[in-house]
Amino acid sequence: MTAPVMEIRDLHLRFPLGRSPGDFLTGRPGRVVNALNGVSLDLIRGETLGVVGESGCGKSTLARCIVRLYKPSDGEIRFDGNDIFAADQRSDRVYNRRVQMMFQDPYSSLNPRMTTGQILTEALRVHEMRPEADIPGRVAELLELVRLPQDAQHKLPHEFSGGQRQRIAIARALAVEPEVLIADELVSALDVSVQAQVVNLLLELQDTLGLTILFVAHDLRLVRHVSNRVAVIYLGRIVEIGDSETLFSAPSHPYSQALLQAAPSLNPDDRGRAVKLEGELPSPLNMPSGCPFHVRCRHATDICKSTRPTLQPFKEQGEVACHNVEEINTHA
């Protein structure tokens, strides 16, 4: 195992909500959304780490913390050994260049009034990637890299399809020669066949450029396909992390098991076989005590209600946060 390029330690993010008039009258403190509750993980150089979980679990929040769109309430993120939130403008610039994010919605993430050429040029200029004279050449190179025709330079985003826009987003991220790409639901808005083209491109670029990718998505099949390792998040906390194939073929945490079973199989013979997860994600305003999953868990025991389990090594290269992981997985 090689050294991690990024280390995330015990990351917490709390969004305070305003106090309502009722709160003022009764002297209640304002409420707080606990978006991240102690996420720790390492991003290994050159790997693709998949992040899965239900909406509202904190997947995107984690991605946004990494690119510093949010400042965590607690915990730290170290990139190449340096704390990314330690203020220093010059190193900020460098960090922004080395870690690039790509967003979900190809319609709102590109400036509708800038041509593709201008979008890419801006990135190159801001980060002073090339002398002014070399910029047009580099733009042409980038378009070729993501397989867009050269005349795309002069077109505006609305002239492209969703798949082509995501290629522009990839080109924009790659313009500044980053080491880490954060892909937040990059292909979720696309049709399957277009999705396949964009994913193929991403995997190919990763191999040729040696990129590290954090791949946030809710499509489990896709995450399994692209990831080396996968983290399963539940209510702002990692409940299981490990090698992608191992995790998908034999998930150990009862939540991972339920989540993976819920994905509809392509085989009609699997009908009705899955154990359905009852209920919904509890509100992050009102976190359950102990293990956050115990209210929906079939295997919950007394200790789950009172004590929060921590990530412990289980099976080869995996970590699971569950008190009863041994019993659950010996019976299964």
Binding site: Q195, R221, L222, L259, K276, E280
Partner: protein, 330 residues
């Protein structure tokens, strides 16, 4: 009524929209039927005409374009029916649920009021009976403490719960057919599984036909009895789910199935159908899929293949369908 007698019969349905003077062939020659208790899936990529099919059946498309052909609903033809008469069927006999649970409910009215509105329009229940029925419906779709939640507004419900409310409203008048337009696309897989289970359960209990639009082949595999695959406004393949997914015969169905990353070596290149779907204003003369098709032969670019029966219950619109020999399905 006999189990296999269709309640809905669509025959040669064409829908045309107009833009800047040019005609867009949104639907061409759509024919299928839905029996009581049957779940029929419509699959295809964006723009293939799935949603327009639902909207043309229930009379929502004719305000914006020309709808021709026949939609036979229990002996009557919905295409030529006057708006007034159609309104007696919309929502009462045929109900529809839309894709986005976030925008399909009125944010200013309580959920109870919206449920009762449906009941007032479509049943002759008294006021108290309506309230009881509203509670019963929320109960039926699995919303806890139903009688209290009737007083809540849509924003007080989560996405999954809102979709349940939509289903409750759709089913309040005991429809015989449910048109479901991507009912679970906006939801998480865990909630999707719950909602699909619910729709299936209700279809069975109420002996209701369901026409389900989805782009997810997994959803089709897990919920539908029969499936119709659409491409560029036409049905290209149709048959029982098991047969179609096991042995797809149309090259487009094969391509669609191969694009799904399942049973593949990790990180291997995913299959993708070359090219893009044609614009509806510039459809090819022959088969619309021919320019992207690997099995394309001479007649494909000149003539349009018609949807024809190849084996019992299976229909394919292709001059050169994929051979059935070895199981080439996933």
């Amino acid at each position: 009524m006999d189990e296999n007698t269709p309640i809905l019969q669509v025959d040669g349905l064409n829908t045309t929209f107009y833009r800047n003077g040019s005609a867009l062939a949104a639907l061409r020659d759509i024919s299928f039927s839905v029996a009581r208790g049957e779940v029929l899936g419509l699959v295809g990529e964006s723009g293939s005409g799935k949603s327009v099919t639902l909207r043309s059946i229930i009379g929502l498309a004719r305000r914006y374009g020309d709808v021709t052909g026949a939609v036979r609903w229990q002996g009557r033809d919905l295409v030529g029916m006057a708006d007034r008469a159609l309104r007696q069927i919309q929502g009462r006999e045929i109900a529809m649920i839309f894709q986005e649970p976030m925008t399909s409910l009125n944010p200013l009215l309580t959920v109870g009021l919206q449920l009762e509105e449906t009941l007032r329009a479509h049943t002759d229940l008294s006021r108290t009976a309506r309230r009881d029925r509203a509670t019963e419906m929320l109960d039926l779709v699995g919303i806890p403490s139903a009688s209290q939640r009737l007083k809540d507004y849509p924003h007080q419900f989560s996405g999954g719960m809102r979709q349940r409310v939509m289903i409750a409203i759709a089913l309040a008048a005991n429809p015989k057919l449910l048109l479901a337009d991507e009912p679970t696309t906006a939801l998480d897989v865990t909630i999707q599984a719950q909602i699909l289970d619910l729709i299936l359960q209700l279809a069975q209990d109420l002996d209701m036909g369901v026409l389900m639009v989805t782009h997810d082949l997994g959803v089709v595999a897990q919920t539908c009895d029969n499936v119709a695959v659409m491409y560029a406004g036409r049905i290209v393949e149709q048959g029982p789910v098991r047969d179609v997914l096991r042995e797809p015969r149309h090259p487009y169905t094969v391509g669609l199935m191969r694009s799904v990353p399942e049973n593949l070596p990790p990180r291997s290149p995913l299959y993708s159908i070359p090219g893009v779907p044609p614009g509806l204003d510039a459809l090819p003369v022959g088969c619309a899929f021919a320019p992207r098709c690997a099995s394309c032969i001479a007649p494909c670019s000149q003539d349009r293949p018609t949807l024809s029966l190849i084996t019992e219950g299976r229909q394919v619109a292709c001059f050169n369908p994929i051979a059935t020999s070895q199981g080439n399905a996933a």
